[in-house]
């Protein structure tokens, strides 16, 4: 690579990472203001960990992500197995509807769910948030599992049935092992999507906050060193997660 190319790539990388690094550096600043560096301090991290609003938002975010990814993985996997053997007409219709949340802008998905709850006079709460997350996660699980299913030979399942397996047992023993990589991809995708979601959460909950909705309302009021500390921790968490996932796939391949 010649110098010009190197300089160009470096410039773009600086553009991409500088804001994040400034934010992390200032999370260790003693002073509240961003104008001056007054000394190293962990006080914003302490304040962050003692902030019950942020901690409960963290709990909501993580618990929703765990439950939503588990539930959507189970429903989505079984759905994919079923859809795979449907007649062509039904299959096209189901796949079309499944694609709606994927194609729709988040804001429309969020609003449509919010209106549904309002229409049926269901109070927005943790439960509506969870149901909404499951709803937008399932399609991604189905889309991850379907390709694995179409690679699979159909006869193995039939053979298991002929040999006396019940359908559930046959799925468990024959189908699931074959499509496991797809299920794992779907589960991880669902987990990260739920964790990262802001727009759908904003519209489908009330009374509870997720980290994203909390950050939004805090940031709207201006700069807050606690958000810096939180960002720094989330950045490290994301990097860690990516590293783990990549190492896993490297070992598998």
């Amino acid at each position: 690579m010649n110098l010009v190319k190197k300089a160009f790539l470096t410039f773009i990388l600086v553009f991409l990472y500088a804001p994040i690094f400034v934010l992390i550096v200032y999370s260790f600043n003693e002073s509240r203001s961003m104008a001056h560096w007054t000394g190293f301090s962990l006080q914003w991290y302490r304040a962050l960990l003692q902030d019950t609003t942020i901690m409960s938002a963290l709990l909501v975010t993580v618990s929703v992500a765990v439950v939503a990814s588990l539930v959507s993985t189970v429903i989505g996997t079984f759905a994919a197995i079923g859809i795979n053997v449907m007649t062509k007409k039904v299959r096209i219709a189901v796949e079309f509807i499944t694609n709606i949340p994927v194609v729709n802008p988040d804001i429309v998905t969020g609003i449509s769910l919010m209106l549904l709850f309002i229409f049926f006079r269901i109070t927005l709460s943790y439960t509506t948030l969870l149901v909404s997350h499951i709803t937008f996660c399932i399609p991604y699980v189905i889309l991850s599992v379907m390709p694995k299913l179409s690679q699979m030979r159909d006869q193995t399942y039939e053979a298991a049935l002929d040999l006396g397996a019940t359908p559930l047992y046959a799925v468990y023993k024959v189908v699931l092992p074959e499509i496991k990589p797809g299920i794992m991809t779907g589960a991880i995708l669902a987990f990260t999507l739920s964790l990262d979601d802001f727009v759908v959460s904003l519209f489908t909950r009330q009374g509870v906050q997720t980290l994203s909705t909390l950050i939004y309302s805090m940031a709207r009021r201006g700069i807050n060193p606690k958000i810096n500390a939180l960002s720094a921790m989330m950045f490290v968490a994301v990097l860690g997660l990516l590293l783990i996932v990549n190492l896993r796939t490297d070992r598998n391949s």
């Binding site: 790539l9 804001p19 940031a219």
Partner: protein, 274 residues
């Protein structure tokens, strides 16, 4: 038990929570909420075409187009240089470019609030150079800037994926037939990478016209985008009927964009995220 029964729980879920909500949006968009019950009306659809709302819509499209154009001009060379790195595995450098994609976009936007603040680093740098402080936030460029920063990796990713798919033999053949580097690029490489470009453009343009948090945080409340307009109807004004009409409009807009782009791009959909 037949295997298709396994899909039935999902089918129920899908009908109740994907299809029905779409029907509810349409219902709200075409009925009036005034006393006297739900009557059919077109007034909310007509209200979308108010000068005020059309101006916001045009502004969203314009800002999003600007951001998309800048992203394309920057991302294409990046993707091209990265795709030339000889390596069997995904090069680490490429991973560096797409990692920011995995960070919560609110935090990425917030990071720029810190930099562009009146007391922020950029302003202090300007003061050091002898310029005065400048209000860098709360204007259109800040919003476009925020979009570019947030969406750049989404442009790099599909173009890179597409460039990698171009068989080396094609490039070699063109060279053997006497084409110089410029000709090889414009006649062979660039046309073959177009599906990646199209998918990158949709991956930046569509989030651009639907965003509301970026404009709210970096643009304040003066620079409303179409997304902000919708958010306002629901969060502030609780005007679900007009909000629904606007959402419907946005859906139509997005589906038109998708239809246009899917004409070009069949292969890169989804792509490898990392």
């Amino acid at each position: 038990m037949r295997r298709r029964f396994f899909a039935y729980p999902y089918i129920l879920w899908m009908l109740a929570l994907i299809l029905l909500p779409m029907a509810v949006i349409i219902f709200y968009a075409f009925t009036t909420g005034e006393a006297g019950g739900n009557r059919f009306t077109l007034s909310y659809i007509i209200k979308i075409f108010d000068m005020l709302n059309i101006r916001i819509l045009l502004r969203s499209v314009w800002l999003s187009l600007l951001a998309t154009a800048v992203c394309l001009v920057v991302a294409y060379p990046v993707a091209y240089i990265l795709s030339r790195i000889p390596s069997r595995k995904t090069p680490f450098l490429y991973v560096l470019f797409v990692v920011p994609m995995w960070m919560n976009f609110l935090l990425r936007t917030y990071a720029w609030m810190i930099l562009l603040d009146m007391n922020g680093l950029v302003n202090r740098f300007l003061v050091m150079l002898g310029f005065g402080r400048v209000q860098l936030m709360y204007n259109m460029s800040a919003v476009v800037f925020g979009m570019i920063y947030n969406f750049l990796p989404f442009m790099i990713l599909p173009i890179y994926t597409m460039l990698l798919k171009i068989p080396a033999e094609l490039v070699e053949a063109a060279q053997d037939l006497g084409a110089d580097d410029g000709r090889v690029f414009w006649r062979v490489v660039f046309p073959l990478s177009l599906p990646g470009v199209v998918s990158g453009v949709t991956m930046v343009f569509i989030p651009g016209i639907t965003t509301f948090a970026i404009s709210r945080l970096l643009g304040g409340s003066q620079f409303m985008l179409f997304g902000d307009l919708i958010e306002n109807q629901f969060i502030l004004l609780q005007d679900w009927h007009f909000g629904s009409a606007l959402s419907l409009m946005m859906m139509v807009l997005v589906f038109v964009c998708m239809a246009v782009s899917s004409g070009f791009d069949k292969e890169t959909k989804g792509g490898a995220l990392i």
